[in-house]
């Protein structure tokens, strides 16, 4: 009788504790894949060359790794669901929600929320353009094909992809 009790206790604990620990690590890892680069790459904040290299490397692998990590976390959540009490289950749900959000964010270029891409550029003739004479433009001339990119527009969109005289160029400001 007493022999059974001594053995039963550790078995029950490890049936919950170990999967719960792995689940927590997986959720934490998925969150870190999003949060680590997000905290390093902030506008108007200095990034050391090492920090930015690391953050960029994480962003490159994050889409795949976060998906794999989320899938594994889901597996452990299913395993744990029947083994824990109903009051602990919301923690599992919270973990999955957070990890899912991080997985989505890892696959989104959220910087583009700040910078609005110009899309496919439209053009006007020099006579039709409604620009003040003193307005500054970025000017490119390739083989006689002359283009003007008003600073007013470039300072908002920052990047315009264009093709000038059959040469694909990117105009940045």
């Amino acid at each position: 009788m007493s022999k059974i009790e001594i053995q039963a206790q550790p078995v029950v604990r490890s049936r919950v504790l170990m999967p719960a620990l792995v689940f927590s690590v997986l959720v934490g890892f998925t969150l870190a894949l999003f949060l680590f680069p997000a905290l390093i790459i902030q506008p108007f904040k200095y990034q050391s060359p090492r920090g930015i290299t690391l953050a960029m490397a994480v962003r490159q692998v994050a889409p795949l790794w976060s998906l794999a990590s989320l899938a594994a976390a889901l597996l452990f959540a299913v395993i744990l669901w029947e083994r824990i009490g109903r009051w602990t289950r919301p923690l599992l749900v919270l973990g999955i929600v957070l990890a899912s959000a991080a997985t989505v964010m890892s696959r989104i270029d959220y910087f583009e929320w700040m910078f609005h891409p110009a899309g496919t550029p439209g053009f006007r003739s020099a006579d039709q353009a409604q620009l003040a004479p003193s307005e500054m433009v970025m000017a490119v001339n390739l083989n006689g094909d002359a283009r003007a990119y008003p600073i007013l527009e470039m300072a908002y969109h920052h990047i315009v992809n264009d093709t000038v005289s059959d040469v694909p160029i990117v105009v940045t400001y």
């Binding site: 053009f123 003193s134 003007a148 600073i151 007013l152």
Partner: protein, 205 residues
């Protein structure tokens, strides 16, 4: 900057791929000018102007530069010759780099200098705002340019008496028909230029 084809991240100022599948690759720079619309249109009446994106055009900030000038800088170089937000014309020739304070260029109108073993000229255009830079040689001969202050209109001369236009071409005199080679002149804040050109010098008259 990130490209959609490969997800590579590119550094704006250098055009170098810093992270991702194309890491280490380099985009070729294209020569570009910062000109007033009037000057550009005068030179390119048949040129095309980027149209505003209709849904965003209300957000365009005509005061963008003064607003940006107030923002904090992410890196600074105390003890250097200029303040972080001083605007410079950054020049890189033959491995050498030098920053020309915009205020100095605007007051001098023409700067003749040597950089990386080449004679160069920085010129403020007739509108007082547009700036171009050239290698100031023709067939191995140095061309010393200066503004003819006696002329009523904007006039750029060399010591041989030829007169030049803002495109860097001689329009009269001995050199008529000859053109100087235009080179990249990057308008930038001092802290940014200094960050990417640690060995840069600063132009002094």
């Amino acid at each position: 900057m990130r490209d959609e084809e490969t997800g590579t991240w590119w550094q704006q100022i250098t055009g170098r791929a810093v992270s991702g599948p194309l890491q280490g690759e380099q985009l070729d720079p294209v020569l570009s000018d910062e000109l007033t619309f009037a000057t550009w249109k005068g030179e390119n009446p048949a040129g095309k102007v980027l149209a505003p994106v209709v849904k965003d055009s209300k957000e365009y900030e005509s005061n963008w530069e003064p607003e940006v000038a107030k923002l904090p800088v992410v890196i600074s170089f105390p003890g250097t010759a200029l303040a972080s937000r001083d605007v410079v014309i950054g020049m890189e020739v033959g491995g050498a780099s030098r920053a020309y304070p915009l205020s100095a260029l605007l007051s001098e109108k023409v700067i003749e200098d040597h950089l990386g073993g080449l004679p160069i000229a920085l010129i403020v255009g007739p509108d007082g705002k547009s700036i171009r830079a050239f290698v100031s040689t023709v067939g191995g001969t140095d061309i010393e340019l200066f503004r003819n202050v006696d002329a009523s209109d904007w006039s750029l001369m060399d010591v041989s008496g030829s007169s030049w236009d803002f495109k860097g071409c001689a329009v009269s005199g001995l050199m008529q028909g000859k053109c100087l080679k235009e080179i990249v002149a990057l308008k930038d804040y001092w802290f940014d230029w200094r960050n990417y050109h640690p060995a840069t010098e600063v132009y002094k008259r």
